[in-house]
């Protein structure tokens, strides 16, 4: 999946229309390697000054759902900045249609994927070696490096402050 200028513009417009009802973006499968590439960890070494905020969640995970408004608020707040939010659902693969319906109902305004991986043990440590595997978990990448990881629920204030802090770190 290559990111085109068209897709970048589309994401910006979706964020700007945050307060209006919009049909949600389609949920697609992504494997872990492509997720890393979508998170700015490009092997080609191309310059990228976008802060990527990747959130691991699932429709059945109560703490994940509790923090979703914080993320949706952050998407709105940073709509004019170089911040990209990526939501990675860890629902069972056969549940993709259900995840899509959920995303539609909850007006997700960012990219949402369903991780296509059989064995989570293969990639948990690749996200962060301290990660126990509990969700929600959030990882941030900036300038092709991981700049943050935590496996706790965010409040809106904490998330906004954290992103602002990271954006200042050049």
């Amino acid at each position: 999946m290559n990111e085109t200028p068209h897709l970048k513009k589309l994401n910006l417009h979706i964020c700007l229309l945050f307060l209006l009802y919009l049909p949600g973006s389609k949920v697609t499968f992504i494997d872990f390697q492509h997720l890393q590439e979508r998170s700015g960890l490009s092997v080609s070494g191309e310059k990228n000054d976008t802060l990527y905020v990747v959130n691991f969640w699932a429709t059945w995970c109560d703490p994940c759902l509790r923090e979703l408004p914080a993320f949706e608020n952050a998407c709105h707040e940073f709509r004019n900045r170089k911040v990209k939010f990526i939501f990675v659902s860890l629902n069972a693969r056969r549940e993709i249609n259900m995840v899509e319906r959920f995303v539609d109902t909850h007006h997700f305004i960012s990219e949402v994927y369903l991780l296509n991986a059989t064995n989570s043990g293969d990639w948990i440590d690749l996200v962060d070696s301290s990660w126990s595997g509990t969700i929600p978990a959030t990882v941030m990448y900036y300038h092709s490096k991981k700049v943050y990881f935590c496996e706790q629920e965010f409040t809106s204030a904490k998330l906004l402050k954290l992103i602002n802090t990271k954006l200042k770190q050049k």
Binding site: R93, S132, T134
Partner: protein, 199 residues
């Protein structure tokens, strides 16, 4: 200066909250927990067992539900060989009413659990073991009066499609222990519903 002090306090608070738990090779503590039939269960009750398959699980979590039949199968296979399953629910029932004791009893009855399903009301056992989510398995091997942790982690490598599992980690670990062999994969990680800690 004040900011540093606040940061230091926060770090200490976070460190205190962070689950450490057992590493492979540690001695696991015995416990004394209430089963769904009202009786108390301890590791020390099992005079003839060679070890245990301790599974931290719960009622509501989709991962726990997906693995339920596999947990039952593990007990069917390994209890006769000296490694019974003991299932522990450490979740705070206030976080999810489906994780209360009554629902545990319903579940155990509905699925004819042939192993204890005990409640860790104070969450002391879950904290000491280092259980992070459900399901989370600790395979213990008896050594004299000690219970040595020999495997920590997932049941297998395919939670949502059991038939495609390539590694059935708990089975491989227990088979190795029964054969007097070292456990080739003693530690794995997996996604799961976080244990609902009391606040």
């Amino acid at each position: 200066m004040k900011k540093t002090a606040v940061l230091a306090l926060m770090t200490v608070a976070l460190a205190a909250f962070k689950i450490e738990g057992y590493k492979v090779g540690d001695k696991a503590m015995n416990f004394h927990l209430k089963n769904v039939d009202g009786n108390m269960v301890s590791l020390s009750d099992y005079k003839d067992a060679k070890g245990f398959i301790v599974v931290f699980t719960c009622n509501h979590c989709p991962y726990a539900k997906a693995y339920e039949d596999r947990v039952i199968a593990l007990n069917t296979k390994y209890k006769p060989k000296g490694y019974p399953v003991i299932a522990i629910n450490a979740n705070d029932p206030n976080a999810n009413p489906d994780d209360d004791y009554a629902t545990m009893q319903q579940r155990a009855k509905a699925k004819n659990y042939d192993f204890p399903y005990v409640v860790d009301g104070t969450q002391e056992i879950a904290r000491n073991y280092g259980a992070a989510h459900t399901p989370h398995v600790f395979v213990l091997q008896k050594s004299g009066s000690d219970y040595l942790v020999k495997y920590i982690g997932a049941i297998d490598d395919s939670w949502d499609e059991p038939s495609t599992a390539r590694h059935r980690y708990v089975e491989e670990a227990v088979d190795a222990l029964l054969a007097g062999q070292p456990v080739s994969v003693p530690f794995t990680k997996a996604i799961g519903c976080g244990i609902k800690w009391k606040t």
